[in-house]
């Protein structure tokens, strides 16, 4: 199976550590992840708010590029990019006329052979993942999926839309104890990160508070946007809540890297706003 990698803009910017940790983990697992050649922006929220054709054309071009070089699937770690690519693929395959029109627009023909994969799908396919675990992640963690990984259910067809389990199962394999909580798929505020920080403070605040109140020691995420809101917007959240909330927010790839014993630096943990203290990420030291 030839698997390509679509980083998207976040992974090259605000979420560099997601990319770094992913590549570090992939390397340690003995897998290469060639980037989709000449990739472009997926269009994100902006495109599909403005121009429906553009919203399909941008991901279509990415998919065509991947298909062209024989990639049977593309790993899209950013949940937002994943959503755009997945939805585009679905729409194009449902409607042959649309597919031809969009292919014409981007002057590249996507025939539908390349599948789109999110990070959780990719990781859960690693056989005997637990065998790679050197330092079991013996913490209570809150697995946070956000909106885009599991929705719309009819299109992504991944996990249970309201009560997903894939990340919980993965974290269990790493030795962690996922908590039972109610905010797995609640909205973090997402795109309002810039325009309505008050909303983000409220929504993300609820998420963090519930996780903390149930004893979680870390939030595990798989989306740059979620990470941004929960981590970078922590001062706003704390201000609104009127209290300090110190739970760290780490990417699933970082959690895996830690469990595999990779150095923190390589996993980009130092880039977080909320400090991830890792004197020794093992069972004895509880201060991640």
């Amino acid at each position: 199976m030839k698997t390509g990698f679509y980083p998207g803009c976040s992974m090259k910017g605000s979420a560099r550590e997601y990319s770094e940790s992913l590549l570090a983990v992939a390397g340690a697992l003995g897998r290469t992840l060639p980037e989709v050649p000449d990739w472009n922006c997926c269009g994100a929220t902006a495109a599909h708010n403005l121009d429906p054709d553009l919203a399909l054309a941008l991901p279509a071009r990415i998919l065509a590029a991947a298909e062209n070089v024989g990639m049977e699937e593309v790993l899209v770690p950013c949940a937002a990019c994943y959503s755009r690519l997945k939805v585009t693929r679905h729409e194009l395959l449902e409607d042959e006329q649309l597919r031809q029109r969009i292919s014409g627009l981007v002057e590249a023909d996507y025939r539908g052979s390349t599948e789109v994969l999110n990070i959780l799908e990719w990781l859960s396919r690693v056989p005997e993942l637990e065998k790679h675990v050197k330092k079991p992640f013996q913490r209570k963690v809150a697995c946070y999926y956000g909106c885009l990984l599991v929705r719309p259910a009819g299109i992504v067809k991944f996990d249970r839309p309201e009560d997903p389990q894939t990340m919980d199962l993965l974290m269990r394999k790493l030795g962690a104890e996922p908590i039972d909580w109610a905010f797995k798929t609640e909205c973090c505020g997402a795109g309002f990160s810039v325009s309505r920080t008050d909303l983000v403070a409220k929504l993300s605040g609820h998420i963090l508070e519930d996780a903390v109140s149930r004893g979680a020691e870390a939030m595990i995420v798989a989306c740059p946007m979620c990470h941004l809101n929960l981590d970078m917007r922590r001062p706003n959240i704390e201000k609104r809540a009127g209290k300090k909330i110190s739970i760290p927010v780490i990417y699933i790839t970082q959690a895996l890297g830690l469990a595999m014993g990779l150095p923190a630096k390589k996993l980009g943990l130092h880039r977080h706003k909320v400090a991830v203290k890792i004197s020794a990420a093992n069972a004895a030291a509880k201060d991640i």
Partner: protein, 671 residues
Amino acid sequence: MARIGVFICHCGENISATVDVKKVAAAAARIPGVAHSVEYKYMCSDPGQQLVKNAIREKNLTGVVVAACSPRMHEPTFRRACAEAGLNPFLCEMANIREHCSWVHEKGDATTEKAVDIVRTLVAKVKKNKALQPIQVPVTKVALVIGGGIAGIQSSLDIANAGHRVILVEREPSIGGHMSQLSETFPTLDCSQCILTPRMVEVAQHPNITLYSYAELESLDGFIGNFKARIRKKARSLDETLCTGCGLCMQKCPTRRIPSEFDAGLGLRPAIYVPFPQAVPNKPVIDREHCTYYRTGKCRLCEKICPTQAIRFDQPDEIVEVDVGAIVLATGFDIKHSDFFPEYGYGRYPDVIDGLQFERLASASGPTLGEMRRPSDGKVPETVVFIACAGSRDPAKGIEYCSKICCMYTAKHAMLYRHKVHGGKPYVFYMDVRAGGKMYEEFVRRAMEEEGVQYVRGRVSRVFERNGKLVVKGADTLLGARPIEIEADLVVLATAAVAQPGAEELAQKLHVSYDTHQFFAEAHPKLRPVETNTAGIFLAGACQAPKDIPESVAQASGAAAKVAALFSQAELVRDPLIAVVDRQAPPVYSSCVGCFLCQSACPYQAIEKEEIRGRDGQLIKTVAKVNPGLCQGCGTCVAFCRTKSIDIQGFSHEQVHAEVLALLNRGERDA
């Protein structure tokens, strides 16, 4: 030589306004074999029919074509008229020159020509018609009712009261079904058991009813009037004739912590048990899965304690074979807790329960003796949230259909809760309230307006626990889709009503069809809602689709009436429009080669194997044979038969072949 009479109807002006009926009559008269051709204003009127009858007698007609309206309208009328005049009714055909001609074309030569074409086609057909005799099938006047819930009980009683024998088979140790589990019933709030128990007793005591409880249908053969059913009586592990139902064994049984099916898992029962005190029959069964003796080989306490020595540990299952003439299927429904909505936490939080569990909590005979106490800690819930459509009407995550009973029972639940916990706060999350039915809407209004039930129109996104409360997150779509959270002590899900788990398997045993949700399929959604496509098998209650009690009872009585009608004759008389397999004199016997591909094509299992043997008993050949009791006359087998050995009466090879040729060859090929 054929002598066909053609009778052309004007239908007032319905036909004659666009078709030149005189021309049609004249053209028909020229068709070879037509001995008589007339037109008349209203052929279906008494004088019109008289015209037909007189002509049959006077002109000695061998066949009749009435060119008028659709045969679906008046074929029975004219066939009856022919029979009255002494002509076999199956020698009469209708040429549809109204619905298929005068009403759909403009006035003109083409329309008249088409009317002539239709008449010529039917004349060609009727020349090949054969006099047919109705089929008579003997009827065993015993009914088998499968399922002893309210529908099965009602059907059994109605059939038994009509004077026929009934065999009632119930899978559980007692009859009563879901209705026996209910607390009170909408919209009258009368006690469910109070109205049901007398019926149960009546069943037990009725001289015409044989009750097999703790029994299941093993297999079924035969056809309408002549079924042979094999019933497996599961071992109760005791001798029913000796057991007095004293209940000592149940009191002494050391294995006591088994979740009670009757209490929907909220109560406990011993390993030897009756499901509930009013059970019929009131004789216990040993649950071999949990019984200490069956698990470890030691105990036999009940055996020692039984005053009549009724316990039989080594009792085997027993197979009973019965001949029955009709079957009523009344196997009911189930409610599904499954993971349609895992985010509601059913199974994770003990205080998230389903409607049936709420019934048990509210029932005076339930695990809390009717006191409203929640399962987790026995606390009286101060706030209760009822979630309607927890699975129903949700094609994305649940099932697409409406479970029909939930709106009403949810209103009832909320009301019952208020009656038992006066200061309690009930909330109902709903999509729409569907309260069609006598006094139903009024009942719901009462809940909303007089009983203080808070109806919130919106869906619940999730239920989670916080600080010992169940937080119900949802939206109130009537208040601008505002998100709301309610901290509840108890959450009740109106889960979807679905088919019984074994429904598909049972349907296959009985050869009745079922829908995509495994509910049994009625023969026609409007006009034959009680029949199945298999003659002699009828439906009652929620095994067909979700239904409330009055509907189930009504259908049950309907099914009973169908059975009684069937049993009112010594023999079943049916139209002979069925398939027949060629039979000839020796040495051919039949042109059938016995490939039996027709068998797999027949939707009714009507094709049987017949062994033709010589006088010495030697097998000569095995050929197909149509069971006239089962065949419904679709003719699918006919089109499959390579040797043209199966033909269907009324639409025979010769008939349809003649029609095709006659239709296309204006005035040419009329031999």
